[in-house]
Amino acid sequence: MTDPRGDRDARDAGTRSQDVSHESHDNLVRADVTELEVVEVREGAFGAHGTGDTSGFGGLTRPVVMPGPSQRPYGGWFDEVADRFAGGAGLEGAIEKVVVDRGEITFYVRRQLLLPAVTHLRNDPVLRFEFCSSISAVHFPHETGRELHVVLHLLSMTHNRRIRVETTTPDDDRHVPSVVPIYPTADWQEREAWDMFGIEFDGHPALTRILMPDDWPGHPQRKDYPLGGIPVEYKGGTIPPPDQRRSYS
């Protein structure tokens, strides 16, 4: 078993050149506190904006904060897996951050090193994540430079463990390496992510649309793509389509 401290130093050394701010965060945040990451700030609610609003809703400001990087120890088998993962050959600096939240562990992996990372996760006998349960994508239009996230849920049937591997890509360069060579089951799931979010999986054998028609314009599950719908009239009142109704968030 590798020494956890040694692994951590190696990882820090790898990330230092690329991400200075990450290192300074480590010094600022106490070990028992989870730092949250602001990905968006929303203003107003329920259709109220600007002057002339007497409801008070227009003055609301709500930051959207996601759970931030966690500090050691992660607890349970998380530390063992994190050490073993970070210690993989050629994976220096691959792990951007580790988030432990609600009993689940998420490894944020730099997209350039996604393929060697999942190869190591599958092949290492201590890790042995031989099953890729699910691949999905999430669009955060306000997270500049990391707008699109690809989320892999890996399952180790050997050790009965689940982890989440997440990688991000900027919207103006939507490229993520395909994991089909490692997990053939990713074929359709990556096609779905391409279809719905426009993420190009480099190395995929046949990246074509899967759910939408072949000639469909746009990628429907992106946040800038409207839901669509028509207003419905009922007993004299008109109800707008769901994405144009007033909302609380």
Binding site: P67, S133, V138, H139, Q189, L227
Partner: protein, 442 residues
């Protein structure tokens, strides 16, 4: 003899060779005299009675032998995941229950499991027992549909009539407990929508007794039937390594002899306290999967009986979390004009308490907020692992909901299961995967 004319039939040319459109009874209109080679690509579906719904199979055939098989999907895509981003967390159940419409409770289960993980709450014991009861009844009804449609596709029509007859018994139970035969939206974040109605326990017991009498009929009809075995044995072969690589779970995975079942391996809602066996078989073909489904129905009956006994001793216990900031404020009851909110609740909010009215209004229209973060909930559906990846931004609606539907993933096994076999075996192989297109396309 008059020649059939069809306005849609005809011959067109493409870069790959001539394209013939035939719609039945008009094969003699095709002129193959100037064709080169034997390679023929046929398009089976999406409107074909044997493809289990709107599944399109593109088959490259050489005589009767399939050389290349590809599945085309998307004909039933309804944008459920996108729609869920515009509704409250509670309303989400109403959408996702419509995905895999043969096993609606599994969809709801994966979703509420993920929401409850995000909220860090646990449903009360009675709600968990009711969920287990409904999930297992649903497993029986789903397997019955699989056997019924699979039988119909190979010409075993008696299996079909028996399967749908017995499924109806379970749908009657669902109707009594949830109010609907399918698309129940009965599991809610924090519990279930409603307590068991009066007389439900007795009705479950009598239905289970009847099912126990009828289930042996399938084994008697099929297990040793030489025609049935001839069509199923050795067809749709897929070993363990292939299953893991392609992501297949459920009966297909267990037919390789691997006892992977989330109910046992990662138990939820008290599954570890029920006595049942995980059925496996060392016959990774359509016949093995058929036998696994038969045996799994018996195991589900065992769980249903245990859950019924537990529920009989839980009368009056809550079926929803006590937290009023999450629990739905009203209880349904049967009024003079059918279903509606209970008279006591209406009296309370309309006549007694202004605060109760405000609370009712806020929780119904605005809903509750879920702390930001993400979670993955996975349950063992009749077809395998159904997973729900939920992302919350701290608001009243899911920021992103993604479902890992077992039909979608398992359907990737179509090619490897049917290439090299006959066209008739493609039907059997697809039926042994048991895809439900509502779940595949979402």
């Amino acid at each position: 003899m008059t020649q059939t004319t069809d306005p849609y039939a005809g011959t067109t040319d493409s870069t790959e060779g001539p394209v013939f459109t035939v719609t039945g009874q008009d094969w003699d209109t095709i002129d193959v005299s100037d064709l080169q080679g034997d390679r023929l690509v046929i398009n089976m579906g999406p409107q074909h009675p044997s493809t289990h719904g709107v599944l399109r199979l593109v088959l490259e055939i050489d005589g009767e032998t399939v050389r290349d098989a590809r599945a085309g999907i998307g004909y039933l895509h309804t944008g459920i995941e996108k729609n869920m981003e515009f509704r409250t967390w509670t309303q989400g159940v109403t959408f996702c229950t419509r995905m895999d419409y043969v096993a609606p409770f599994s969809n709801e289960a994966a979703y509420v499991m993920a929401v409850e993980k995000l909220l860090e709450i646990e449903a009360p014991e009675k709600a968990q027992a009711m969920r287990v009861l409904l999930l297992e009844l649903n497993r029986i009804s789903s397997h019955l549909v699989c056997l019924a449609t699979g039988g119909m596709e190979i010409g075993a029509l008696t299996v079909m009539t028996c399967g749908f007859r017995d499924r109806e018994l379970i749908l009657d139970l669902f109707e009594m407990i949830t109010g609907l035969r399918m698309n129940h939206a009965f599991f809610r974040p924090g519990g279930v929508a409603q307590d068991l109605p009066d007389g439900a326990i007795e009705k479950i017991r009598s239905t289970v007794a009847l099912l126990k009498k009828r289930l042996p009929e399938y084994a008697a009809l099929c297990n040793a039937n030489p025609i049935f075995k001839g069509r199923l044995k050795g067809v749709g072969h897929l070993e363990l390594a292939g299953c893991l690589a392609l992501g297949l779970t459920g009966p297909v995975l267990r037919s390789t002899g691997y006892d992977w079942d989330l109910r046992r391996k990662q138990p939820y809602w008290g599954y570890d306290t029920y006595d049942f066996d995980v059925v496996t078989r060392d016959e990774p073909d359509a016949y093995g999967r058929f036998r696994i489904r038969l045996d799994e129905m018996w195991e589900s009956i065992k769980i249903v009986e245990q859950a019924t006994e537990r529920l009989a001793g839980m009368e009056g216990l809550p079926v929803m979390v006590a937290d009023k900031k999450i629990a739905w404020p009203a209880q349904l009851s049967v009024g003079a004009d059918g279903q509606g909110n209970s008279a006591e609740h209406i009296k309370h909010i309309m006549g007694e308490s202004m605060e109760a009215l405000i609370h009712h209004f806020k929780i119904v229209t605005e809903g509750f907020r879920v702390p930001a973060g993400q979670a993955y909930g996975a349950v063992e559906a009749p077809r395998g692992e159904i997973g729900c990846h939920l992302v919350s931004d701290g608001g009243t609606r899911p920021y992103r909901a993604h479902f890992r539907d077992p039909s979608f993933v398992n359907l990737q096994g179509t090619s490897v299961m049917s290439e090299g076999g006959m066209i008739s075996d493609v039907i059997v192989a697809v039926a042994s995967i048991d895809p439900v297109m509502g779940g595949v396309d979402r």
